[in-house]
């Protein structure tokens, strides 16, 4: 089970009354930042679960609480995007290796299958991405040519390092911002901040477990 489905494991804790909280501020917080297959129900339940960690926050802490909700949501999402981006670069590496490496390196270059190199490698790389059986077959073929799945992954991470670093930077930025939000809440209500940190850690842990 992957994000955002894994968030459903924390949903039962959210009561319907908690979904209605913070109504005064709601219109100044923007809508739910949903993309891809994320749903409003998942976001509302996630938000309510985090908000339920702090009882009766003042209006300033409500702002910071919303930050914690959105940042936690974005951290989950960025981790999923990072996994996606690794796959995108893996696909590119697979295509290149299929195009440029040959099952029989002893054969002269002119005798290698050029049509496959141009057209087939791209089609096979697409199959590698979307078809489990094709992936097994292509992985085995590449392994025969000296490129195990681990090597392909390593090449993909090398090629995509600029983009992966950018995602890592965003995750680090969101985590730092979330810490700053905890600190700001703590300045106004120490106990609430502690409860919140503990609660978010538990929710994240449960999501991680569910995802595994």
């Amino acid at each position: 089970m992957v994000y955002p489905e894994c968030l459903e494991s924390v949903m039962p804790r959210a009561k319907s009354s908690q979904l209605q909280r913070m109504s005064k501020l709601d219109r100044f917080l923007g809508g739910a930042p949903l993309v891809g297959d994320e749903t409003q129900e998942q976001y509302d339940a996630f938000r309510a679960t985090i908000l339920s960690q702090v009882s009766e926050p003042d209006v300033i802490n409500e702002l910071y609480l919303q930050d914690v909700v959105d940042l936690s949501w974005q951290i989950f999402r960025e981790r999923k995007i990072k996994a996606d981006v690794v796959l995108i670069f893996q696909q590119r590496v697979v295509e290149r290796l299929l195009r440029t490496s040959h099952s029989n390196p002893e054969k002269p270059y002119e005798e290698q299958d050029q049509v496959y190199a141009i057209l087939g490698s791209r089609a096979d790389a697409q199959l590698w991405l979307g078809n489990r059986d094709a992936r097994k077959r292509i992985d085995a073929e590449l392994e025969r040519r000296g490129f195990s799945p681990d090597i392909v992954l390593a090449f993909a991470k090398l090629e995509g390092r600029m983009e992966l670093d950018a995602i890592e930077d965003r995750i680090a930025f969101y985590e730092a911002r979330r810490m700053a939000a905890y600190d700001a809440i703590e300045r106004r209500n120490e106990k609430a901040a502690e409860q919140l940190k503990r609660g978010v850690r538990i929710i994240e842990g449960e999501c991680m477990q569910a995802a595994e």
Binding site: G30, G36, V59, I60, I81, G160, E163, A166, R170, A184
Partner: protein, 131 residues
């Protein structure tokens, strides 16, 4: 180097390049380079900003909110805009087949938005400390 005749011709031609002449054309071209209004010094949601400022400072409905609460509210509304734009960028990326170039474009767009987000965050943090 251009001859005197060429220079004179260039000047004559340049006089024809006066941009749009109709009011609608002028309005449209004034927005040519606008991709978002995050860098604008004009507040985009004046009514909402005043309402939020009142809420933050606890001021009554008919009282003027403090400057610091208006600053905090304006920064908050900018953050909401940035959140919306980031969501749109990620939404475009997650829609359909994704390539390495799409990944690069998404990261670039998000990086540009980060600048506005950080500026607004600093402003909001500074203002909210006053409460």
């Amino acid at each position: 180097m251009a001859s005197d005749r060429q220079i004179a011709a260039n000047r004559k031609n340049a006089k024809k390049s006066t941009g749009p002449s109709s009011e609608a054309g002028k309005r449209r071209s004034s927005k040519n380079a606008v991709r978002h209004r995050l860098a604008s010094s004009n507040s985009r949601f004046p009514k909402e900003i005043v309402e939020l400022a009142r809420l933050l400072s606890g001021a009554p409905k008919d009282a003027d909110p403090t400057f610091v609460s208006i600053d905090a509210a304006d920064a908050q509304m900018t953050l909401v805009e940035v959140k919306k734009m980031k969501t749109e960028t990620l939404g475009r990326f997650l829609k359909g087949d994704r390539t390495c170039d799409d990944t690069h474009q998404m990261n670039e767009e998000l990086r540009k938005l980060d600048r506005y987000e950080q500026r607004a965050l600093r402003r909001r943090k500074r203002a909210l400390k006053a409460f």
